[in-house]
């Protein structure tokens, strides 16, 4: 059990040193990676560990981004305040929605969450005098840890201090999620995923725990969304469309949803993949679709799953 921690420490160090070796363009790409990775850690608690596939999760990304925009409008300068606010907001919104949705599983849960996600999307359009409708809402640059970094321009700020800030957030988020997943609570979530009926007979409060997983995943999603909104400087209704939720699922499956690090691997791979494909061809969506289809059919364990298999192979055939 220590090995993952070593790997994580090494990877974190690599990321910390990255700005010294890699051009700023790619560092800039890492910010959305951090955002999506955090959101996906939460998403995977719901999907990989509790067995619930939500097709409306982009809604919480939206709450994060629009929350940051609202805070901008209120003149808030501290990003930490924004994070706290969006965590609370997403939890409060996730509670009633979750209460309704966790009564169902499988396709129905997926459709219900898709419906709620699109409902949120339509609200963003209908109340355009608040949300800016199609044009979105501005997210201003803010202080991180109370520091303004006024000397840095936007790009320098994003590829410098903010990069490390987000790396820090990801590490913290991953540590928190690691503890959750390896706790008694996490064990009960997994029993729900594997056999909800049997879990009930072992005293597992199935509905309560599904709801708890839903709310926690919402909070992580909001943090990710705030980072995304901050980076672009804009909260955009497209962030909330059902195809964005589909993209989240894509990232989770790409990385491997049965694995703790899968979501992180998945979001990094997706971001890099999309970037490279976009520079090759304007038909990158087709390529991504083909990749998703291939994974679903042939490699459902995703990249992390494959890596694990490879590791086992290399380590010999010990049981």
């Amino acid at each position: 059990m220590k090995a993952p921690l070593v790997v994580a420490a090494v990877v974190t160090t690599v990321f910390a040193l990255l700005p010294y070796f890699v051009p700023p363009y790619y560092i800039g790409l890492m910010i959305p990676f951090f955002g999506y990775a955090i959101a996906l850690l939460g998403f995977n608690l719901l999907f990989g560990y509790t067995g619930l596939l939500s097709f409306g999760h982009a809604m919480f990304l939206g709450i994060g981004a629009y929350g940051a925009a609202v805070m901008t409008g209120l003149g808030v300068k501290s990003f930490e305040l924004v994070l706290i606010a969006v965590i609370l907001a997403s939890a409060v919104i996730a509670l009633p929605i979750g209460l309704l949705c966790v009564r169902y599983i499988g396709i129905f849960f997926g459709m219900l969450t898709l419906a709620f996600g699109m409902l949120f999307h339509s609200f963003l359009f209908k109340f355009y005098y608040v949300t800016g409708g199609d044009s979105g809402m501005r997210v201003a640059r803010m202080n991180i840890l109370g520091l303004e970094f006024a000397k840095y321009n936007k790009i320098e700020f994003l590829t410098g201090p903010f990069y490390y800030y987000c790396l820090g957030l990801l590490v913290i988020g991953a540590l928190i999620m690691w503890r959750i997943v390896h706790s008694p609570f996490g064990l009960h979530l997994r029993t729900i995923r594997d056999n909800a009926r049997k879990a009930e007979y072992l005293g597992v409060h199935v509905r309560h725990f599904r709801l708890a997983a839903f709310v926690i995943s919402a909070a992580f999603g909001a943090v990710g969304g705030a980072i995304l909104g901050f980076r672009v400087g804009l909260a955009d209704p497209d962030l909330v469309y059902w195809t964005q939720s589909g993209q989240l699922v894509f990232m989770a499956v790409l990385g491997g949803f049965a694995n703790f690090f899968g979501p992180i691997v998945g979001s990094l791979s997706y971001i890099l993949l999309q970037d490279q494909l976009q520079s090759f061809t304007e038909y990158w969506r087709f390529a991504l679709g083909a990749i998703l289809a291939t994974i679903v059919i042939a490699f459902p364990q995703g990249i992390a799953g494959l890596a694990l298999q490879f590791k086992r192979l290399v380590a010999g055939r010990s049981a």
Binding site: M1, R179, I180, H182, S183, P184, F185, G186, L187, H188, R190, T191, R193, D194, N195, R197, K198, A199, E200, Y201, L202, G203, V204, H205, V206, F209, A258
Partner: protein, 253 residues
Amino acid sequence: MTVLLETRNVSKSYGVFRALEQVTMAVHEGEVVSVVGPNGAGKTTLVNLLTGLLDPTAGEVLFMGESIAGVGPVALADHGLARAFQLIQIFPQLTVRETISAAVVSRQKKRWQFFADLSADAGINARVAEVADIFGLGPRLEAVGASLSQGEKKLLDVASAFALDPQVILLDEPTSGVSTSDKHRIMKTLIAAAKRAGVKAIVLVEHDMDLVAAYSHRIIALSEGRVLADLPPARFFADSHLIETVIGRRGGH
């Protein structure tokens, strides 16, 4: 002797169909009570009522004096009643250790601990090892559910129910699918395990009359929703008419 689990004049109807009619029975401390009867006699309905899955149409279902009508499986586990099923129910991706731990977590009320390290919890691990040993699953603790043999899965299913520290355990055809030569061995293991685990009474639903004869203190026979007999084995098997109704052929064992 204290009454642990009982029904009083319980009836259950599904629309016009009356599955159970005025059934009164009790399970006392220290007893193994078998419920037998032909298919359709109402055994499953009675068992579902006894384990809080159904609301009776009339009458009461009491556990330690408290009504458990329709409380549901989760509350059941908290009350101290456990149930193991005829069709094996396991967690395919969880190890034996994790499966038993899940029950222990419920029992030790640690379910809402978000940040505690499960693997470091000595209290849980000790209890898991204990229960696994009782059922001979010690060497298989780290094996994943899907990789177990049918027999091992069955044992795990029952072991996880035992790990709840129930006062009463309900076993639904625990030896079904097990080869005849193994049946007695399994039953002896289960009953001994129950004693060691502190279980105070067992309710057994069985078709195999050999086992019923060998291990029950009392046999309750259901037929067409009514209690036909509530007798110790000696008297039960002496009544050939009874045997015929329940098993459908003349002669006893």
